[in-house]
């Protein structure tokens, strides 16, 4: 059951922020619509991840993955097939894959880690220039300036 239901309920499009009455302080009511416990989903996640809570390969939200050998992904979970499909168009981030396959971040990392082990995906890590923080900020600045002139 769960996988498809979860993908559908997680939604692929933008999610509207929960409706709140005007002047309702966010903290007092706890924002409970955005903070939901899914017990049934937790059970199905257990099945997808085989009960593991940590991926073998260390990844971050913005780590990019790209396709190495899609044939080696055959025969695994539907979520894994979807993940490989998403990476076909070019490097795709962990966060984006998670959102599009409808799994939480950590479960997504476990699925992706298995795909790395199987040879289907590789992490597309930045070159050494990314470790220079000043250079990175300057590059970000020039990218944003170009974008600003495009939208202005």
């Amino acid at each position: 059951m769960a996988a498809d239901d979860m993908a559908a309920s997680a939604g692929w499009g933008p999610r509207q922020p929960p409706a709140r009455s005007a002047g309702d302080p966010a903290r007092s009511s706890g924002g409970d619509q955005a903070w939901v416990t899914y017990e049934a989903e937790e059970l199905s996640l257990y099945a997808i991840t085989g009960g593991r809570t940590r991926p073998q390969h260390s990844m971050r939200l913005v780590t990019l993955l790209e396709v190495a050998d899609p044939a080696s992904a055959k025969g695994i979970a539907p979520e894994a097939d979807q993940a490989v499909e998403l990476c076909r168009a070019g490097p795709c981030s962990v966060a984006e894959i998670a959102a599009r396959i409808g799994l939480p971040i950590q479960a997504t990392k476990i699925v992706l880690s298995d795909l790395i082990d199987s040879g289907a995906l590789v992490m597309a890590l930045p070159g050494p220039e990314a470790s220079d923080h000043l250079q990175l900020l300057e590059a970000l600045r020039s990218g944003l300036e170009t974008r600003l002139s495009d939208v202005a």
Binding site: A10, A34, L64, E96, A99, L136, L140, A152
Partner: protein, 207 residues
């Protein structure tokens, strides 16, 4: 394909900026205005050991909560860079503990809805304490009964002098990108003026 197990390739540099603020402050609108994709939502289970406020004496209890994260993306091809904007969940105390979200961010923006000024207080305090460069952006809603000046917001939220406080319209791409530029300029000033504090250690994080 080569039979050897390659686990890493080369790709663009990815950077992230955190967009924080209370519920309804306009975080998702702002992300959507700047993003080249429709904002996406993903979820994560966060676990925290409760600090005793709601636990029995001597008994550690863990609270697991699902947090929903909205995000968007901007690709800068010439710079070989992808920028992700992550909108933090409204309830602060959980996402503050989410290393994967916070560690390595180049900076943060605290979006303020002047109808609910106090909602920004926790985020300002948090970023101030972490030393992460941040700016405060006042989202100007059409129906706000009164437009607070940046100076009034700075005083109300105890924003330090060196932190920029600017106005923006979260619906307008050029306005949002201008705020992002203000943040990057501010981060660059930080970099040029003071040696960078040692980078936070990246640690695997448990669910």
């Amino acid at each position: 394909m080569s039979p050897d197990m390659r686990t890493e390739g080369h790709g663009p540099t990815t950077v992230k900026i955190i967009v924080s603020g209370g519920f309804g402050a306009g975080k998702t609108t702002l992300i959507g205005a700047a993003s080249e994709i429709e904002p996406l939502t993903t979820e994560e289970y966060l676990t925290e050991v409760s600090d005793g406020i709601d636990s029995l004496a001597g008994v550690e209890r863990k609270a697991t909560t699902t947090v929903a994260l909205d995000f968007g993306r901007l690709t800068f091809r010439d710079q070989q860079m992808v920028l992700y904007l992550f909108g933090t969940p409204g309830q602060d105390r959980f996402w503050f503990t989410w290393d994967d979200l916070v560690v390595g961010a180049v900076g943060a923006m605290v979006l303020i809805d002047t109808r609910r000024l106090a909602d920004g207080f926790a985020a300002v305090g948090y970023f101030e304490q972490t030393g992460m460069p941040f700016v405060v952006a006042i989202n100007e809603f059409d129906d706000a009964p009164y437009r607070y000046s940046p100076a009034e917001v700075r005083a109300a939220l105890e924003v330090p002098d060196r932190v920029p406080v600017v106005r923006c319209d979260a619906r307008v791409p050029s306005s949002v990108i201008t705020v992002l530029l203000t943040l990057v300029d501010h981060a660059l000033t930080y970099e040029y003026e003071q040696p960078r504090p040692s980078a936070p250690v990246e640690q695997p994080h448990a669910v």
